[in-house]
């Protein structure tokens, strides 16, 4: 069985069928910037799947006043449904990401609030972290991970935030899903091509050992660099605490967090993670990405087997 997917290097970045998270990476892939191999499941796959669940979801929405119960029931409806495209997804893994053993499955949600769709990873307010992503997923579990991504549109947090008890239109929200090869991270960085905190023009980056989640979640403080925009000179560099690095166990149990924390030796904490050469390479790449999108970017990247790979790029949110 074949499903409609959008491969990274082969789609229009203006495709209306994908969330911005997928489109932005695809756009970079098209100009030869290294992103993980992967493909996007379009909104239509989500819509077709949830159409059959709509009456059950609407019944729960009108019956339940308690958001925690509403969320639990909706989660069950979605995750216990049968994804008819499961076989097609497994075929697509083999076709588009041959040889990969583990995958990242990431949500790109487009919630409908007050009859208007909000785009994730746009320049307005961030929806980052609202929806689930799953890392180091074995191939056989990817279809279930897709269902869990879909179900995360109905988490208690989202139902409360968007006051779904009062807004039936939320059930018409959509989601595209990004499926990528998992790139093991030796180092990772969050890059702001225009640092949004300090006055003046700086290129900022925070770098740490292991996966990027450590920086984004705030569980560790990475090494912080501010560079001049014009030439990439390092203007300031502060060592972060880097108490541990984050890695993952293969995801086989949906009830257990597969994130693993590895302690970082004190000697390693006290030195900068990245070489000056790597900092310069990240600066060059960041400026290239900013130039490509013609707007300052908030970039997540990993260094995997010595190669810099961009896992996410979006406009810097302005609030």
């Amino acid at each position: 069985m074949s499903i409609s997917v959008f491969e990274m290097g082969g789609l229009s970045d203006r495709s209306p069928e994908l969330g911005n998270k997928v489109k932005n990476l695809a756009s970079l892939a098209q100009v030869g910037i290294r992103v993980p191999r992967g493909f996007g499941l379009p909104f239509s796959v989500y819509t077709e799947h949830t159409m059959q669940l709509m009456s059950a979801l609407e019944r729960i929405r009108t019956q339940e006043k308690d958001y925690s119960v509403m969320a639990r029931r909706m989660y069950d409806v979605v995750t216990k449904s049968s994804l008819k495209d499961a076989e097609g997804i497994l075929d697509a893994l083999n076709k588009h990401i041959p040889g990969a053993q583990y995958f990242a499955v990431r949500s790109a949600g487009a919630p409908v609030v007050n009859h208007a769709e909000i785009a994730e990873d746009s320049a307005g307010i961030s929806l980052a972290g609202q929806y689930e992503s799953f890392l180091l997923v074995p191939a056989r579990n990817v279809p279930q991970a897709v269902l869990c991504c879909y179900a995360s549109l109905f988490s208690e947090r989202c139902l409360r935030r968007f006051k779904v008890a009062e807004d039936a239109g939320y059930l018409w929200s959509r989601m595209s899903v990004l499926i990528q090869e998992m790139c093991p991270a030796e180092l990772s960085a969050v890059v702001m091509t225009r640092d949004p905190v300090e006055d003046g023009d700086y290129f900022g980056m925070e770098v740490t050992y292991g996966a990027c989640e450590a920086i984004v979640s705030g569980e560790v403080q990475g090494d912080l660099y501010l560079l001049s925009i014009a030439k990439g000179d390092i203007l300031s560099a502060e060592i972060g605490t880097k108490n541990f690095r984050i890695g993952y166990e293969p995801l086989t149990d949906w009830n257990v967090d597969n994130k693993v924390k590895f302690s970082v030796h004190e000697q390693e904490r006290k030195k900068f993670v990245a070489s000056q050469k790597l900092i310069a390479s990240i600066y060059d790449l960041g400026m290239l990405v900013e130039h490509h999108f013609r707007t300052p970017q908030d970039i997540e990247l990993v260094v995997s087997r010595g190669e810099i790979i961009i896992t996410q790029s979006r406009p810097i949110t302005t609030g």
Binding site: S126, Q130, R161, E206, I215, T241
Partner: protein, 113 residues
């Protein structure tokens, strides 16, 4: 009056002028109900589950994290003064302390305990 600062302290979002508020220590999500409008949230770190209370806060202070962490990003998007990476702060502050958070000098001044 006691002024606190540290080498690892970083700013997530600047405020033009120092802000004053009542400290609420948030060790986990179970403590979020304590947060009232104008409070200074002091937490190990934050995630998306903290956002409704962060919107009530006059400032956010976290023990862990860096300039591009969730706490910093959400604060910046919503113009909430924010200092992160304040290791040891939990030993210095208690619920109900009145503090002045100054992002420009990267200091927290305990005005009244």
């Amino acid at each position: 009056m006691k002024e606190l600062t540290g080498e690892s302290w970083r700013v997530g979002c600047h405020a033009e002028t120092p802000v004053t508020g009542r400290v609420v220590i948030v060790q986990s999500e179970a403590d979020l109900h304590k947060v009232c409008k104008g409070d200074v949230i002091v937490a190990n770190q934050t995630d998306v589950n903290y956002t409704p209370q962060m919107l009530l806060a006059s400032a956010v202070v976290t023990v862990e994290g860096g300039r591009y962490s969730h706490a910093a990003t959400f604060s910046r998007e919503n113009k909430i003064p924010c200092i992160i990476g304040t290791s040891g702060i939990m030993d210095e502050l208690r619920d109900g302390d009145i503090v002045i958070v100054n992002t420009r000098s990267k200091t927290i001044t305990i005005q009244k305990t």
